[in-house]
């Protein structure tokens, strides 16, 4: 019998996936027994959601942008009739050309394929084989060696070798140890972890179990941000399924290994992604970082040795144990092994989730995998690493994704958010955005991070208001150096990166704001001038939209904009359908 899969990750749902699913349920009532209806997670093509896949004996037809109205025809012609509807296919007309070609899916091996609510489907795709192998055939030391051999580095952003971290925690004295999964994906622009949790929660649980066995922990926490309700629901369901099957609890698989996983919902604080702050938050306190050492590997949760890894790191583990460290290390570059998941967003054609081998160039990711820039605009820069990362200019995008290569640009690999910017993005505005973010999220413990970030935020605010001076640029650099030097945790230490990189690569844009009082990307409102040109045919739409009556003119006659009255709200520009309003 044919199977129909509907992508119901958060992106699928918000594009209308649930309505499509309900329409399919109705169809199934009308044509009982014609197909089996299932939900799945994220296949990565968020830009074409809702996605519906019709599978028959290994042959698959993936339909994109499906609406409830299209369901009738899909069922009738494809499912019952056996003829695919070419125009509606996701891959039709080369629209997804190259999207999957350069991808290697290890973390996303099950995403968009299995029903994340079914432990059976996970098991059917070799799920829980990794932990079985580890528990029954390997010593904890052998497990750690395999992870060391794989070259896996922490995927949360730090990039610390995972095997080393495990080794330290295993070597720490104490009979009680903890595993923590960091699912507090706080970087704006990153959604890899949410997607993995929603699409394949068991792979994370299995990775945590293997880590628990390796370091000698019997208790674990998943610290997940409360903004991800669907991911939390999936995790709860997965944990109870694993418990019922005896895969979590006491004496797992008869090996004497005990392991319990609890979920802690975060309460909304970016700084809790820092491991000591995260631990403080689980302990019920304000999530403020503390001085390290001692590192959590020695003294972590409740003062016990604790190993913290990120969601994506854990999701890699079962695959590594099953296939061996060398198989993982076969992908990637000299110092960056395996694959990396990237969340693609911004001005790129194909937004969504991709997984590529380390070393693929940023340009290839944007143009070959993700189809290039929207509306064929000029590619300007890519932002990597969120508020701790930086903006890499288009000219430098021939470097491969590799920890060292990316660091050389002043950005960081980070957790995997890749935000593509084109000529309509103002780099000063982007810097201002990140400075506002880090200032709001500073926990307030260190003076420079608390007060310095506020003073620093005021500088690009002045510049985008047209009040900046050239001295501001020197102050911005100096203050950034001081905040970096005098902050305790990563938030303050890396917060200057977005500023430093934009100053380094896009200094001309800063200067245009300061000297010419112009915003080259036409973003910073106070620096814009709106004018009406001869294309105006007097439709009066702009005059009616103008809140300050700055636009006057006869019907069917050219209109005029009074600069004295104009508050630069841009409404005239938005409503004009004849390109008669220009901004400069």
């Amino acid at each position: 019998m044919k199977t129909i899969l509907v992508g119901l990750g958060t992106c699928g749902i918000s594009a209308g996936g649930e309505k499509v699913y309900r329409a399919l349920q109705e169809e199934l009532k009308e044509h009982p027994g014609t197909f089996e209806l299932k939900e799945t997670g994220c296949i990565g093509m968020c830009y074409r959601e809702p996605l519906v896949e019709v599978i028959d004996d290994g042959e698959s037809h993936l339909y994109a942008e499906v609406t409830p109205e299209r369901i009738g025809r899909i069922v009738e012609e494809d499912v019952i009739g056996g003829t695919q509807i070419d125009d509606w296919l996701a891959l039709a007309g080369g629209q997804a050309e190259g999207f999957f070609d350069k991808q290697v899916r290890i973390v996303l091996r099950n995403s968009g394929i299995i029903d994340p609510g079914s432990i059976e489907e996970y098991i059917a795709r070799d799920g829980y084989q990794g932990v079985t192998k580890a528990l029954k055939e390997m010593t904890p030391e052998e497990v750690i060696k395999d992870v060391l051999d794989s070259g896996l580095r922490g995927r949360g952003g730090g990039g610390f070798p995972t095997g080393k971290k495990w080794e330290f925690t295993r070597a720490s004295a104490g009979d009680k140890k903890y595993i923590i999964c960091n699912a507090d994906e706080g970087d704006p622009g990153a959604f890899m972890d949410r997607s993995v949790l929603e699409s394949d929660p068991h792979s994370v649980l299995e990775g945590m179990m293997i880590a628990g066995y390796a370091i000698g922990a019997d208790e674990a926490y998943i610290y997940c941000r409360a903004e991800y309700p669907k991911a939390i629901a999936r995790l709860r369901q997965a944990i109870s399924q694993a418990q019922r099957r005896g895969l979590l609890g006491e004496d797992i698989l008869g090996t004497g290994f005990n392991f319990h996983i609890k979920i802690k919902e975060g309460a909304g604080a970016f700084v809790c992604g820092e491991e000591t702050a995260l631990i403080a938050s689980i302990e019920g306190r304000r999530g403020m970082p503390r001085f390290r050492p001692p590192f959590p590997a020695v003294s972590g949760l409740w003062g016990k040795p604790t190993n913290i890894n990120n969601v994506e790191t854990f999701a890699n583990i079962p695959w590594i144990i099953q296939n061996g460290g060398a198989a993982f290390a076969a992908y990637g570059t000299e110092n960056s092994k395996g694959t990396k998941v990237f969340a693609m967003a911004g001005k790129v054609q194909r937004t969504g989730l991709i997984e590529v081998p380390m070393g693929l160039t940023i340009r290839s990711i944007i143009f070959d995998v993700c189809g290039g820039i929207i509306d064929n605009k000029r590619f300007k820069a890519v932002q990597m690493g969120g508020p701790s990362g930086g903006c890499i200019p288009a000219e430098m995008c021939d470097i491969g994704v590799d920890y060292q290569e990316v660091n050389k640009t002043g950005a960081i690999m980070g957790s995997g958010g890749l935000i593509v910017m084109d000529e309509t993005t103002c780099m000063v505005d982007v810097a201002k955005f990140f400075l506002t973010f880090t200032q709001a999220e500073s926990c307030g413990k260190c003076t420079f991070c608390r007060i310095g970030t506020k003073r620093r935020r005021e500088i690009p605010e002045r510049i985008t208001d047209g009040q900046g001076t050239m001295d501001d640029l020197d102050n911005l650099e100096e203050l950034s150096d001081q905040i970096r030097a005098a902050s305790l945790c990563g938030l303050g230490q890396t917060a200057p990166n977005p500023v430093i990189t934009t100053l380094k690569y896009f200094r001309d844009e800063y200067e245009a704001h300061i000297v010419d009082k112009k915003c080259p990307a036409h973003v910073c409102t106070p620096l814009l001038t709106y004018t009406i040109n001869e294309l105006c045919n007097g439709c009066t739409a702009c005059a009616r939209a103008c809140p300050t009556a700055a636009i006057t003119g006869e019907k069917k006659g050219m209109h005029f904009l009074d600069q004295e009255l104009c508050i630069k709200c841009g409404k005239c520009f938005t409503v004009c359908r004849f390109d008669a309003v220009t901004k400069d």
Binding site: S14, G189, A267
Partner: protein, 163 residues
């Protein structure tokens, strides 16, 4: 401490279940907020009374985390994503439209109590930017017209359900 019948809700059940375990504070506060829609001062005192954690410390935790509110919000909570992708893809347009439709700024509630507008750091739906959620329901790829339509529908729906 006298409690009216009205207050025998999930929050009280969770308080009774308190087993002296450290780390219970944040889940208790989350339960209070789920029950009341915000964390009332009296809830902080109840928690302090039961757990022995000083009320001042509890207040410190409440004000540290973005999730906790100390004032009640409107019936429909609109969360506007201010993540990088939404910023680049026009969250300003979204905010302007909402402000026009609702007449309120971030962290404010409409006079009729129907809507509250909240700014959040990132909802993690970056591929659909710009994004907002209403009562947890995600709406993506928004433009002016789509945003207006959603708000008007919600207003009609909420008013209808009240009658």
């Amino acid at each position: 401490m006298a409690e009216s019948h009205e207050e025998f809700k999930q929050f009280n059940v969770d308080l009774w279940k308190f087993d002296g375990h450290e780390g219970a504070l944040i889940p208790l506060l989350q339960s209070a907020q789920d029950t009341y829609g915000y964390v009332p001062e009296k809830a902080m005192h109840y928690i302090s009374h039961v757990t022995g954690i000083p009320a001042a410390e509890i207040y410190g935790v409440v004000t540290f985390y973005a999730q906790f509110r100390t004032r009640p919000l409107g019936k429909n909570i609109i969360r506007v994503c201010n993540g990088t992708a939404c910023h680049v893809n026009g969250v300003k347009m979204l905010y302007d439209t909402l402000q026009e439709e609702l007449g309120i700024n971030y962290e404010e509630t409409t006079d009729d109590g129907l809507f509250s507008l909240v700014s959040v750091a990132c909802l993690g739906c970056c591929s659909l930017a710009p994004v907002l959620t209403i009562n947890g329901e995600v709406h993506g790829r928004l433009n002016v017209a789509k945003t207006r339509k959603i708000i008007r529908e919600f207003r009609t729906r909420t008013k209808a359900s009240e009658q």
